[in-house]
Symmetry: D3
Subunit: 158 residues, 6 copies
């Protein structure tokens, strides 16, 4: 289990922007697409919440997180790809842990684990989903088993 | 506090039908309308649940309860007013309490209370929402206060 | 298809207030009423989100958007009509598109379409729900068909 | 706008099975994968609902629809890929509309539209999402515009 | 890591009953209590789903699973402790895995792990939540760490 | 019905902090525990919302409200007890009503009622849930009946 890229000293407690849009006149089908487009354009996070809107309408609250200088691009996508007539936003601070990537060995090959580090202490160890998924598919094993092997390898490394 | 219409001896443990539709390509705006139309056409209940569908789509599960001989009309409305290509259904038994309607006096006038009765015992006493709302509007008092007066009148009547 | 009222040059990127209340001791029945009352009193938007509160309680998060000088009235309604003991709020900026209203012809008569305009470009064209609904009811046609006719008329007008 | 494959006379009002699993000890990350695996294995539909479980746990209700002779395979996937200790199921009838696929022309090329037909009448016309998405990506236009063009072409064809 | 009680050969594919109640006039506060009472009275599962009901009401769908001969007790609790005027139910089959309880050693003492077994194969290994929680509290360690130790012990035992 | 402790003149319109975490790789089981731990450590409120995250993942948005000087402790718990790699936060103002506690008599003994007071007017009267629950359990009566008696006693006291 070796250190993989050097620790990534991100800025911590960064200023970002949360944008919000309420949607009650768009098919859900389009919203799956909108999420992808926003991530591709650099949104740091995008997520939906089911909401109850006026006139008995099941709606969706779209929330996204981005950097201030990315706001115009986000606005443009929201105007073009959704049906909204308005966009709300407010500043939000993000405390982001340092991330470090390590490799652990499983019987199906090495898998990257993203570690979350705060003040030098490792708090999180998340196996990379896409790599685990690729192995699960290739070797026809449950995804659950792949994660278990990674956790086991992490435990042995301690 | 007098007995209003005579107790309503409904059939208990009745056979009914639950119908279900998954929707991911309809605007929420239409769904508010669809609910009204279904109730008007005799649905015994209609409600929506937010669901997570394939391809990251926030969808809506429409569920409705109706009598077997009302199914064709419900199907027709669902085909005409929603975007679905299929409708699921299964039999469901409903244990319905007997209902009795009484009148209680408040300082703003009499209000109907729907009582739920099982084996002769009163389990529920629900002030009629529309009447409470009308009084709240007419007298410019909080709806909460209207309900409180009804509960108080019910308590005194015991 | 003629321009109806002249474009409405609203202030863009306006300062507003988001207010929030967590509710776990109010019947859902009252919340339908509360939403109406808040809109009538000038809330710019009101919506509910299902939340998981302490002690296994399914609760509701009420969110509303209003102008700063409308806050006192909103607070008063929330105190009077809900069961809350506290109200949270924070400033939020709203980027609102210019709105223009046009009329399009359908076989059932003219219907208003609200257009959302940004930097002179039309991004949204939303048929007015209440007018479409009225026509659907009057002519006994699916709401879906009414919207389709409006979209068709908009397409021809291009 | 030509008829594409001949109408597909599916069996209507088919007997199927709804399976259900409550999950409170699985990461959401795995559930995205589980949905894909179930669809690939022939589930007719799979969707998630957020639920409130005991001990204040936000859980997920997995529901799937399949044919009776596909149940064993579904069970096996659920046991292998989720953390459940039990699976519920019950018979459910599905009224499925006949489907017909037509092609409509847009300025970016032909797009398939799936039509839902009941007793010879066309109730639904759904542009194929994947084709619209591919065009939106390739031509760098909003998905919304692609759908609009399809609706317009459908209207002209009438 | 020893086998703890002998495997529990439960009946598999058992006939049970699902009961459902829609609630729009009950405070969430009471529902936390109702869930506990139902579990204490022998419900096999109880869970809530947020639903959209008529007149813009955020409601709750209560679902419970019980044995047929437990239905009367469930009905009585639902009538007494909620505000419902009706209860729906239908038969449902439950495929329940065999359960076996094993003990694994951690540095804070032994912890029970519930195993889910199907046709002799172990599919699930769930550390007992209450025991992990008790250790987390007593030793002032994150619950996450306790689970990790259990998983590690399980891995070594293989 | 006597005044119990003297009115509690809390600071009104206080500055607080809302913290938010998106979670898609944690079992729901742990989240029940996390909520308790956060309350015990002094969070003023904690609640969960179901969200739709990327890659079809049903996730959970954890929101908490705390005082500025309690933030570090909250952060530490979130890092230790959840799987998050980041925490968002922003300032929020809380308008909190004055609270006064009174006692009312029921046939099962006295029960505390929390009153919410604004500018000297009583807006809310909430029976203390834990006391009502204890009486319901001890005397084997529905919780609903206990609340009804309290409301009745409050009405008589007016």
């Amino acid at each position: 289990m070796n250190s993989y890229p050097p620790p990534n000293h991100e800025h911590i407690d960064e200023q970002m922007v949360k944008m919000e849009v309420n949607l009650d006149d768009i098919p859900g089908e389009w919203l799956g697409y909108v999420m992808d487009i926003l991530f591709e354009a650099g949104a740091n996070d995008v997520f939906y919440t089911p909401i109850y809107m006026k006139k008995n309408r099941p709606g969706v609250l779209l929330q996204l997180l981005c950097h201030k200088n990315n706001m115009d691009q986000m606005k443009e996508i929201l105007l073009k790809e959704t049906t909204t007539l308005g966009i709300r936003y407010f500043p939000i601070t993000v405390h982001r842990m340092e991330r470090k990537f390590i490799k652990v060995e499983t019987k199906w090959g090495a898998i990257t684990v993203k570690q979350g580090i705060n003040d030098g202490e490792v708090f999180q160890s998340s196996p990379e989903y896409e790599e685990c998924k690729a192995i699960a598919k290739r070797h026809n094993v449950p995804l659950k088993k792949v994660y278990e092997q990674v956790w086991q390898a992490l435990a042995k490394g301690k």
